[in-house]
């Protein structure tokens, strides 16, 4: 089974301003990018489940020239608030590294 890190040379999360969180999934090569893009594994429901995002507000962009998938949504907690644990948003990607990606599996397989 392919994991997200097998397909990506860089997985990162970051603030896009204090009120948005954004994730970049840079594919290793063109084949990896197509596999990732076409799998639909990075979808709104996944980010709703993992981060409590509102699925209607999750923006998924496939960037063919950069061979990258980008996902952005409003931060569940604004940056630097008392309840914020990750001021730069830099470690939020962590549970995605081992995400299983494959056309033959359902896209969301993180939790029972």
């Amino acid at each position: 089974m392919t994991r997200l890190l097998d397909l990506c040379s860089l997985i990162r999360s970051k603030n896009a301003g204090p009120f948005w969180l954004t994730f970049d999934f840079m594919a290793r090569d063109t084949d990896s990018y197509r596999t990732l893009r076409d799998s639909g594994a990075l979808n709104a429901e996944l980010f709703a489940e993992l981060y409590g995002a509102d699925p209607a507000q999750v923006l998924v962009v496939n960037h063919d020239r950069a061979e990258a998938v980008k996902v952005s949504f409003p931060r569940p907690v604004r940056q630097g608030d008392l309840a914020d644990s990750d001021s730069y948003g830099g470690q939020q990607y962590a549970p995605l590294v081992d995400l299983l990606v494959g056309s033959e599996t359902p896209p969301v397989v993180l939790r029972e």
Partner: protein
Amino acid sequence: MEIRILAPTGALGAGFRTESLERGVAMRPHVIACDAGSTDSGPAYLGGGEPKLSREAVARDLRHLLKARDTLGVPLIIGSCGTSGCDSGVDWVAEIAREIAAAERLSFSLALIYADQEPADLVRRYREGRIRPLDGAPEIDEETLRASHVVAMMGVEPIQQALREGAQVVLAGRASDTALYAALPHMLGADPGLTWHAAKTIECGAACAIPPSADGLFVHLREDHFDVEPLDPASRLTSHSVAAHTLYENANPFLIAEPSGTLDTTEAAYTALDERRVRVAGSTYRPSDTYTNKLEGSRLVGYQTIVIGGIRDRVVIEQLPELLPKAKEYFRAKIKDVFGGRVDPDDVDIDYRLYGRDAVLGPHDPARDEPVHELGILITVTAPTQHLAHAISTFVAHASSHLPVPEYDGLASTIAYPFSPPETDRGPVFRFTLHHVAVPESPHELFRTVHENVRDSDDEVTA
């Protein structure tokens, strides 16, 4: 037409190789521009007005840039001075610039552009419907605007005005990063789409180079394309790395908003010229019907004291889900008791973060129930005054290290504290309050410009 832009580093004070700057100077840029701020480090900088980077680091970079500007006789534009771009940040960088001018015997005409917003003006605009929320904005009211330190983010126009009025060095308050690099090319009639895209590409310095570094990039902007290259000969750009940079810290990599419109990179083509340089063409710019300036605000939340410890006993770890809520209830009663009812427990925030369980990702962490043999614990106490936060933290730290574990008869120590005293006062705590835009009458309305002649002391006759 060819306009050359030198971007020495991603942030004034982050550093760059002097050899790289020399290479850039040798290519005869029309302008040197550098960003000096960001909201990325959190609400404390705008809230408290303090810069993130040290005076020494900022002075080091600024000294090299002022000398390079003097050699070339071209404008130096620095934006978002002092991290948040607040007025005191502009004054701080200006003071450093004057000291450098005196020490290095440099003379220049200086423009300071201020971006702080008066609460009364903001309230008036709010009542007029000229402050509008962006996607994901929090709810605000007039009290939010009165209690926040607010800056507006300028576009190219106030910078261009300062240049037209003769400024050789522009120190701007909060500014769109890209506006710093785009201001002069726009004045010289460059293609708007290519200009904004070039500006976006270089605004983080060599962040999109391979390897990424605190160093600079150089742009040759022409009629129908721009070429970009790293200043460090050991560093390189690829069509992929330049295309991918549109993703960085942006919600949408194809549509990038500026005060006067939107950069659209959907049709942009990226071509490698050689091992190190990339040519970009095809970006477009769509002017918007309404000119807007983004607003950023930060307000005081309270004062914080923190306590750091560790828990190693598996029995204590297993009992924490029961013990911590009980401890919080106990603290509410204790606050009422100790302060004789003068402090409302609702005004005090006491929080436990368990590193090793779910401190980083929170309740959605898929691994939060996995077994651990050791937990890091961070206790935060936030209260209306530092005195109060500290006073409460002393009994919170004490009681937390003697939690009543049901399995144990008698007093056990439940947290290992590495420090004496365990409490550390952290000072004021702030929160971001605005994700909004103002709709001004003109691109200049929210900003104030002050001109000044900086002369080295032996040159005062001409002052």
